[in-house]
């Protein structure tokens, strides 16, 4: 049996969200033609972009003013109407996909799988459970497989060379049971947490919003994204969308620097996929050291300024060539 895959694209304004690239990578592993559904108030630019991606057969374009807020009530009906034509329907496991796909799944009476990290075959999928302390392999017995894809588990590369057709689809009426009344998006010009090569994260130890700036200044010089523990977010040092962990964002940068974070399992769930982990903590027994490649024990208020100063110096020197391997 051959697969036909539908990817529900996530957009960020009028551009493609990086999570969609990971979802496309996952879709390509399923081996079959891929259709992408993109919905919004002005999806044209994103649709063109998607049409040029490898493996994409058709781009289904749903354009209507009421689709701007990405409300699940409107989108779910739209997506549900297409499920029967596909063996697999994929969306990114971001707040967009997590809000949407379970609603679609229930509308078509299907048990979906959340946060897929490995596609073993067309019906067998691995995903983390218990805050990443266990991996569960599931065989899905449903006629259509509905999956959200963990973006850090699949490459975010742009694979071009596609020449898909664009096809407008019927968007139906808006349900009018729910309305977006306000949208506050982070305006920072920092790299995005989910796709940044370096993430510096701070915890409760900072003690105040003012002191947390130390971390933001370091991030600026490293061209890094800022992350935070739940304790730091709860205390108001960082906005909620900076939270890394089981119930926040999952990140997997080249370098993750955890400063004044104890390393509770709920935090580790969001960052142990990082390539290199640095921990700075004054408690030598802090659990964060259990996952850190390089641990430095000491007071962050002494270490961070020194580290920052020396980073500045280093950044003005050329990077050494590394031997391969």
């Amino acid at each position: 049996m051959t697969n036909t895959i539908l990817v529900v694209a996530e957009t960020a304004g009028e551009t493609l969200a990086a999570s969609t690239l990971s979802t496309l990578t996952a879709a390509r592993e399923l081996d079959g033609p891929i259709d992408v559904l993109v919905a919004g108030a002005r999806p044209a630019a994103t649709a063109e972009n998607l049409a040029s991606m490898a493996g994409v057969r058709r781009v289904l374009v749903a354009e209507a003013p009421h689709l701007a807020g990405g409300l699940a009530e409107d989108l779910s009906g739209l997506v549900a109407g297409h499920v029967e034509h596909y063996s697999h329907v994929l969306a990114p496991a971001t707040t967009f996909g997590k809000n949407l796909l379970p609603r679609v799944a229930a509308l078509v009476d299907i048990q979906m799988v959340s946060d897929v990290t490995v596609i073993q075959d067309a019906e067998t999928f691995v995903h983390p459970i218990y805050a990443g302390n266990a991996n569960e392999t599931l065989r899905v017995l449903e006629p259509h497989k509905l999956l959200t894809i963990r973006p850090t588990a699949f490459a975010k590369e742009v694979v071009g060379g596609g020449k898909a057709q664009l096809e407008r689809i019927d968007v139906g009426e808006t349900q009018a049971q729910s309305r977006e009344v306000e949208l506050q998006l982070d305006q920072s010009d920092r790299p995005q947490l989910e796709s940044s090569g370096i993430v510096v994260s701070g915890g409760r130890a900072f003690g105040s919003l003012e002191k947390f700036r130390l971390l933001e200044e370091l991030a600026a010089d490293l061209n890094a994204a800022v992350g935070a523990s739940r304790a730091a977010v709860d205390a108001g040092y960082a906005p909620n969308d900076c939270q890394v962990g089981q119930t926040g964002k999952v990140v997997a940068p080249e370098l993750y620097i955890a400063v004044g974070i104890s390393g509770a399992i709920q935090h580790l769930a969001g960052m142990t996929g990082s390539k290199v982990i640095v921990a700075i903590n004054k408690d030598p027994d802090a659990p964060i050291f259990g996952v850190a490649d390089y641990g430095l024990v000491g007071d962050l208020f002494e270490i961070l300024p020194e580290f920052h100063e020396k980073i500045r110096q280093l950044r003005s020197e050329p990077k050494p060539e590394l031997a391969e391997g």
Binding site: G69, A72, E73, S76, T95, N99, L100, L101, P102, R103, A105, A106, L107, I110, Q111, V113, S114, P128, I129, Y130, N133, A134, N135, T137, L138, V140, L141, Q175, Q177, S178, E180, V181, E182, L183, Q184, L185, D186, R230, P239, N240, D241, T247, E254, L255, K275, V276, I277, D293, Y294, G295, L296, V297, E306, F307, K310, I311, L314, K319, P320, L322
Partner: protein, 249 residues
């Protein structure tokens, strides 16, 4: 207004999870269990709606075996008016849970279903959205703020890029995120009193819900642990390692 809160009994969030050596699941014997933390937040929010005179009846519902009664006892102690246990033995999948919760919501004519955003055992983050779909109600997921006025719910949602505020017509489903509130501690006398209160029971058959599993667990395995790292003496050594060993700076 009638509010239904869904509470799941899960392994306590402080417990170190151990995967069984035969790969059939995780160790639950002699392991501390408690109410899913997000469900306690949902419950707290409902209790506050009661205290504000907005909620007239608060219904706590769990889907689970006999042992799940204990989360209903603490729900009663916290302020729930009634507690219902839907009797299932196998651990139910989110779509089954949603079908059961939707059936009770209909039967009891509730105006608001308040759930946690995710259960910390399956980490599925599905049941709320599914319940909303099955009922044909709007949904406010990942709520960090909830206000009820004039037959509508206003929900601030924690989303990836920041915060989205939506307005929902009631009835609706809302799922609680961590920052919605901080649940109160249940006092011992309240707990003692709750022990004597009745717990209503329902069955999936009586609610007309088919519990056939739709996905099959092949195995549960331990994640590959990270290799142990090293402690460095000072900032200079750290920078040296990052630059010359790891090559990331």
């Amino acid at each position: 207004m009638k509010v239904l809160v869904g509470v799941k009994r899960v392994i306590d969030y402080n417990v170190n999870i151990r995967v069984k050596s035969d790969g059939s699941g995780v160790e639950t014997e002699n392991v501390r269990m408690s109410a899913n933390p997000f469900d306690e937040i949902a419950l707290e929010e409902a209790v506050r709606l009661k205290e504000a005179g907005i909620c007239s009846e608060l219904l706590a519902v769990t889907v689970g075996d006999e042992a799940s009664q204990e989360v209903l006892r603490s729900a009663l102690a916290m302020g729930a008016d009634r507690a219902i246990r839907i009797d299932v033995t196998e651990s139910p999948q989110p779509l089954n849970v949603a079908a059961l919760l939707a059936a009770v919501a209909r039967e009891e004519a509730v105006d608001l279903v308040l759930l946690g955003k995710q259960a910390i055992d399956d980490d599925a983050n599905q049941a709320g959205q599914m319940t909303a779909a099955l009922l044909g109600w709007p949904q406010g997921t990942f709520a960090s703020e909830l206000t009820i006025a004039e037959g509508r719910a206003r929900v601030a949602r924690e989303i990836d890029g920041g915060q989205q505020t939506v307005e929902l017509d009631l009835p609706a489903v809302v799922t609680a995120d961590l920052r919605l509130n901080e649940p109160r501690f249940v006092k011992l006398p309240a707990m003692m009193k709750a022990k004597k209160r009745p717990i209503e029971e329902r069955t999936p058959e009586a609610l007309g819900v088919d519990m056939r599993p739709r996905v099959e667990r092949v195995k549960v395995s331990e994640p590959v642990p990270r290799e142990a790292g090293v402690k460095v003496a000072d900032v200079d050594e750290l920078l040296d390692k990052l630059r010359n060993e790891a090559g990331v700076i």
